[in-house]
């Protein structure tokens, strides 16, 4: 009884007025005391429904109860049994829609869920900050070379799982940094790069080789890699292609994709004086869209000094795909939300710089195929909004580099890769795929789950082959 009477902890946060102009992490993390207190709330349910909400089925009560007992390193170990990036997922998972949405507290008690995400982050941070990061044990080398294409969460988790199983694995990354969206997309104030780097270091210690500045299909083809002895392939090349809306004026100077905007800041550190990459430090910045990427962009605009940072979203807040916490943080920092509005044209000056957006107001009609209510333009509602920078954040498409270089690789109408549901095997022999290249834009944890699943399936495939070979040899 006393457990359910406890209140859910709240996450200590940096003051909005300070953080809106700085890159410090917004969420400060729990202390050992608050974490243990929160862990007490967990009822260690006989049927832990929370686990079903987690795409990688972390043993939630087991790690939470370790925290309650003060066994923080043990808790971290439990996390690592199934997740290779717990410090990352504890920060960016949409917990409120996954594990926490399925917690007994929500389902039965109509009370706030156990703060599973905060606790996950706490255990992983504790392990890292106390210098106790355990490197998973690896089996003796099988002498089989495997190539992983892309170093986002899908690739990293695949690499970790394969290294554990004794495969000789090389991760090829097109950019000069490892981490995919975790590095070039999600900003420091939400996911510090150091957190990602520690996870990458641990993979290196497990024997994973990383080759940056290497585009598979361009620098070398899959065929070349086969000749070099690579036997198996995992494609985790992501959904990196930005979409635009195709409205007039979209190519004006000052209209850019969120990928470009975030890459300039997160990957190239254009916000720092000492680097050479330029960035537009707009005073009146409008970000088009309502997802995590849009929130990251609009909050980056504030940190670059914007006086007005606006979200323009065609539905209402209820339909926004961004995490609830991100919307809340954006509001606290002073972001303006122009919901139920949509840009229909960008207007520039004589030099081609964007100066205004023609905005149309919307209302919600019947639900569409996605189940969300369809936005309908309100006639005669158009008006002009003054801006000097526009960031378009209306979604991404799968990266076509790999499919273009492999004609046998089957793709869907949405240009994602076709894979077997169970094994994640593609139409090309010994090639598996997962993450956003298969799902379109999805989440970090789903990408990681895919990497894990593909590793399991690939290991099986090679084990069977090896067995057959040894039987033949007699």
């Amino acid at each position: 009884k006393d457990r359910t009477g406890l209140e859910r902890v709240s996450m200590p946060e940096e003051d909005p007025m300070i953080r809106r102009r700085s890159y410090v992490e917004v969420n400060k993390g729990l202390t050992p005391e608050t974490a243990m207190l929160e862990a007490r709330r967990c009822l260690d349910c006989a049927n832990p429904t929370c686990i079903q909400g987690c795409p990688v089925e972390i043993n939630i009560p087991k790690f939470v109860k370790n925290i309650e007992r003060g066994e923080f390193l043990e808790a971290a170990k439990v996390l690592k049994e199934t997740s290779s990036l717990p410090a990352v997922c504890g920060r960016v998972c949409p917990q409120e829609k996954q594990c926490e949405a399925n917690c007994f507290y929500i389902l039965r008690l109509a009370k706030p869920a156990v703060a599973i995400g905060y606790l996950e982050r706490f255990a992983a941070d504790y392990e890292r900050e106390t210098g106790n990061v355990s490197v998973p044990e690896t089996q003796p080398s099988k002498g089989l070379k495997i190539a992983c294409i892309g170093s986002g969460p899908a690739g990293l988790s695949f690499a970790g799982e394969m290294a554990k199983r004794g495969y000789d694995i090389t991760v090829f990354e097109a950019l000069h940094e490892i981490g995919g969206v975790l590095k070039y997309g999600i900003p420091e104030f939400r996911l510090p790069n150091d957190v990602v780097d520690v996870e990458i270091d641990s993979l290196k210690k497990m024997g994973v080789t990383f080759e940056t500045n290497f585009i598979v299909g361009k620098t070398s083809t899959v065929e070349d890699l086969k000749e070099e002895g690579f036997k198996g392939f995992f494609v985790g090349s992501g959904a990196g292609l930005p979409r635009f809306m195709g409205i007039p004026g979209e190519n004006l100077v000052g209209v850019l994709s969120s990928n470009e905007y975030l890459t300039r800041v997160n990957l190239m550190e254009a916000n720092k004086e000492e680097t050479d990459t330029p960035i537009l430090k707009g005073k009146k910045v409008a970000v088009i869209g309502g997802g995590n990427t849009a929130m990251d962009s609009v909050r980056t605009a504030l940190r670059l000094g914007a006086e007005k940072a606006m979200i323009i979203y065609r539905r209402s807040e209820e339909e926004m795909p961004a995490r609830v916490e991100e919307i809340k943080h954006a509001k606290e920092e002073g972001v303006e939300f122009l919901n139920l509005q949509n840009p229909i044209e960008y207007v520039g000056d004589a030099k081609g710089y964007v100066r205004q957006i023609r905005v149309q107001k919307m209302e919600l009609g019947e639900p569409d195929a996605s189940g969300r209510r369809r936005p309908i333009p309100v006639s005669g509602s158009e008006y002009l909004l003054d801006v000097d920078t526009v960031v378009v954040s209306v979604g991404v498409s799968p990266n076509p580099l790999i499919p273009q270089s492999l004609p046998d690789l089957e793709t869907t109408d949405w240009r994602t890769l076709v894979v077997d549901d169970e094994s994640l095997h593609t139409s090309v022999p010994y090639m598996y795929a997962g993450g956003d290249i298969v799902r379109g834009g999805a989440t970090v944890i789903l990408a990681m789950g895919d990497g894990r699943k593909a590793a399991e399936a690939m290991d099986q495939e090679f084990s069977v082959i090896n067995e057959r070979a040894s039987i033949k040899k007699g």
């Binding site: 097109a174 950019l175 000069h176 070039y184 940056t212 500045n213 290497f214 585009i215 361009k218 620098t219 070398s220 083809t221 070349d224 990196g240 292609l241 930005p242 635009f244 195709g246 979209e250 190519n251 004006l252 100077v253 000052g254 850019l256 994709s257 990928n259 470009e260 890459t263 300039r264 190239m268 550190e269 000492e274 680097t275 050479d276 990459t277 330029p278 960035i279 537009l280 030099k351 081609g352 990266n399 076509p400 580099l401």
Partner: protein, 274 residues
Amino acid sequence: MNKVVSKDYFSENVVRLEIEAPRIAKSRRAGHFVILRVDEKGERIPLTISSSDTAKGTITLVVQKVGVSSKKLCALKPGDCISDLVGPLGQATEVKKTGTVLACGGGVGVAPLLPIVEANKKAGNKVISIIAARSKDLIILEDQIREFSDDVIVMTDDGSYGEKGLITEGMEKVIAREKVDEAVIIGPAIMMKFASEVTRKHEIPSIASLNTIMVDGTGMCGACRVTVDGKTKFVCVDGPEFDAHKVDFDEMLMRLSGYRDFEKEANERYQKDQ
């Protein structure tokens, strides 16, 4: 890390660098480019692969000093390393046997033109090259272009070398003189705009190689977008070569100036520090 193997000056402001990159040397075709970052603080800039040596495992870049990044690159000495180099990027040039090809290169655009001239010659075409620049010291690679051309016309704006005049005048002369089946146009955006007006007028199919602002070079950012035939294209993955008559050069020129204030300031700061 990629090592600079050798370095030559074409002029004070145009430098040829040979850089170690064995895989790229092997995979690259005419028309491809690389993106590099000189040092840890550097920006990512695209440069055409002018030639390669698969035996030595090197590629050659021809770089014109225009701002901070190109100056930092040109300041490197043999033995120094650049921190990142990725490629080969873009679609390779499609070279067919078409007959007579007019190859037009302006300024440092002659560097990316060279492998295309070579490929056209090897495909059995008659190649007439026009290389043009503001003045004599900016004319580069003349001997190399001559090696693969049937005829070469050199032009300078100020008449300090070759014929005096703009590249468009040289083009008009050739077109008046003989039948041209195809044109390849590479140079500053403004030059490409006017050169493609000439071939449009004479209905000569033309290719231009676009040099838009880039960041990743893999199709991820959209910084390099241009309008071709009314549709948005990404130069790094769809190009860099397009039908010159369908490119919206005015939009491209406008987008190239997007960061000019920043670049000017950065350049002044860099000069002061030297």
